[in-house]
Symmetry: C2
């Protein structure tokens, strides 16, 4: 008999997907250029040419049996070494290849990391606003996801609410900075305070508590933003990375787990990831893509357009009266909606203006809307009058 659990899920739509599908439908009806689609976090700048050149060279020169051959479960050794070396060079860390596990993007990394450090019934804390797929990543392990409400004045951590949720069943804290959807980067002060609390609670509870740090937007940080390397502030830290956004390779599903070598179980956790992947049938990321990213490990796509778009949108929207915490990175911003009901506001802008935004409710933060400005700057500029109209129409809704 088919599994009721998964069958039931197929009938439950995601709001993000619903708005994205509406945008696609409208694009088919009235032309893509007439739909102002800010729904999807899909990179809008091409991968750096060196990646393409590397793949072309490998396809031409390498023995296909090696190029397309089995990767070891933990990843190709030279690739794991390249990742460790890059992190050490850039962030003053001391990773070795034995601390690195290659994954299918940050999604795979988080799903593995949570399985490593929890057992069914344990608690994992995360902070609103957060990426809604955290729910299945945690649920799939049998652990329970607990949510700290957002500090909507800064989108840094709401520490009072965090302290209230902490208890001996908490085994991990899942954070995402730079953050989807707020665009905020946790400051050094925030990370130090978080680390200090967790160190104290580890002693109090008599067990380790891990920071699982979801960092796909690490390379997209804007000028003047304090952007600490989180693992350097806390020993029991597991960095979950994806090359999807930095290299504009979201479809190639490539990322890694990097376990802080100061964590006493670092090497064991990496070996455990290898065991976990056997259970999901997800043995290792594709060999050719592993080899390709290793060759361009310190490069990125030209990410400057995201900062340019942010600058325009932040300046113009705040001038229009939208309230917004200025993003420090990513390609998202998360203004307050002019009316409290973000769903109603976003449905209105979609139906009346073909301006498609995602309500903050999807990210456990009502009264806000997410703009994914990984679009052309021309589209951003053409959308500005619509944001102005939306503000006026919102006043009529009140």
């Amino acid at each position: 008999m088919i599994s009721e659990k998964y069958a039931d899920m197929t009938t439950k739509g995601s709001i993000i997907r619903e708005f994205a599908q509406y945008a696609s439908k409208r694009a088919a009806e009235i032309g893509k250029e007439n739909v102002y689609n800010f729904t999807i976090g899909n990179p809008s700048v091409p991968v750096c040419p060196e990646f393409t050149e590397t793949l072309e060279r490998m396809l031409k020169e390498e023995n296909p049996l090696t190029l397309h051959g089995y990767s070891p479960t933990l990843g190709i050794m030279s690739v794991r070494e390249a990742v460790a070396d890059s992190l050490n060079r850039r962030f003053g860390m001391e990773y070795t290849a034995d601390d690195i596990f290659m994954t299918s993007g940050a999604a795979g990394a988080i799903a593995h990391a949570i399985r490593c450090v929890t057992k069914p019934g344990d608690e994992v804390i995360t902070f609103a606003p957060y990426f809604p797929e955290y729910v299945p990543y945690v649920d799939g392990t049998g652990a329970v996801l607990k949510i700290v409400p957002a500090d909507i004045t800064s989108f840094q951590i709401n520490f009072d609410a965090f302290l209230e949720l902490l208890n001996p069943n908490v085994q991990a804290v899942l954070i995402n900075s730079p953050n989807n959807p707020s665009g905020i980067v946790y400051s050094t002060e925030t990370i130090k305070k978080l680390a200090a609390i967790l160190e104290e609670k580890q002693k109090e509870y008599g067990h380790d508590i891990y920071i699982i740090s979801d960092e796909p937007y690490r390379e997209i940080v804007f000028e003047g933003t304090d952007s600490p390397f989180i693992s350097s502030f806390y020993d029991n830290s597991i960095c979950c990375y994806s090359f999807s956004k930095s290299l504009s390779l979201p479809g190639e599903r490539i990322g890694y787990v990097a376990v802080n070598p100061k964590c006493k179980d670092a090497k064991l956790i990496v070996l455990m990831c290898g065991q976990i992947s056997r259970f999901t049938g997800h043995n290792c990321p594709p060999s050719m893509i592993q080899l390709g990213v290793a060759e361009v490990i310190d490069k990125t796509a030209d990410l400057s357009i995201y900062e340019k778009n942010k600058n325009i949108l932040y300046k113009e929207l705040t001038n229009m009266g939208y309230e917004c915490v200025e993003p420090g990175g990513t390609f998202y911003m998360f203004p307050k909606t002019p009316i409290a009901d973000a769903n109603a506001f976003c449905r209105m802008t979609a139906s009346k203006l073909d301006l498609i935004l995602v309500p903050g409710d999807s990210f456990m933060c009502p009264g806000h809307m997410r703009l994914a400005y990984c679009t052309t700057t021309e589209m951003v500029e053409r959308a500005l009058p619509l944001f102005e109209k939306a503000m006026k129409l919102a006043k009529e809704m009140e």
Copy 2:
């Protein structure tokens, strides 16, 4: 705290890996050409040139944002269509794209399929000898794997033992033909008998029972072998395929689930696979590899060397007195060991002759040994005197 379950697993070695690692160690010591390594099922012929040409062309001509862009969770629509069309053309089926879910190899396909049709505590039956990774694939879902002992006279199905194991808790039967490790292909007669039994039991138990058919060796079938397309004989059938062996792309992790359109829940099961992949963080296989295999969907690497190697090994080994059921496909054969203790025999050939084989105990079929003859023919021929010596040395062991 780290998960004891996965931590414990890191200390448990696989026998296959142990013998493979010994082969690598000896290769480093005495040179690869002096080690007769029959341990690993890694293809030994390159991918067809059309695949390489397709990737080269796409890298040159396609927009990198499309080429490397997100795949939908279920797979890229044009790729799913190409898979359905190919299966229909070749096997007279009526799949549509909606019956196809793209996966990371057969491993991902099986892990998804089992999660679709079982809940924790349900039983899944498989037949010895079998691929040992079936254990984690099934365990990971909470279902229980039950083993039908081998029919060592034919390596077809031991139906008497199968009938004894069947009970209302059985929700799926997991089969692998052409078979790793025996090399045997289930005959039309075997498949018809299996289908008839399951149809009767579905009525008796009042619920569906699925055949999950693991088919990575489907394209490696030798002359004169009866090789039915399993799903055409049973409606509730889920075909799990990998391009790893047919195209020699094991590292690129690409395969699919094809749910028989005659199964009443086919479309739902495909949607469920999409939900399941969210829980494991394994969202979809790499876009570029999906697009690449779709372009060469009916092609294979030049697989003829496997039949050539089989013909030499089968003829010569049986002449030497080894007892073996002749393989109908794959690149494996599974002779009886000359002494009952296969572990002792394989350790002896490894240590005394650098002839590295895998004991059948790994495949729940003691008294046998697996030869993976995906090697050069020259290596096969040079190994023949060692098999002869091994037979003599075995007699001294008795």
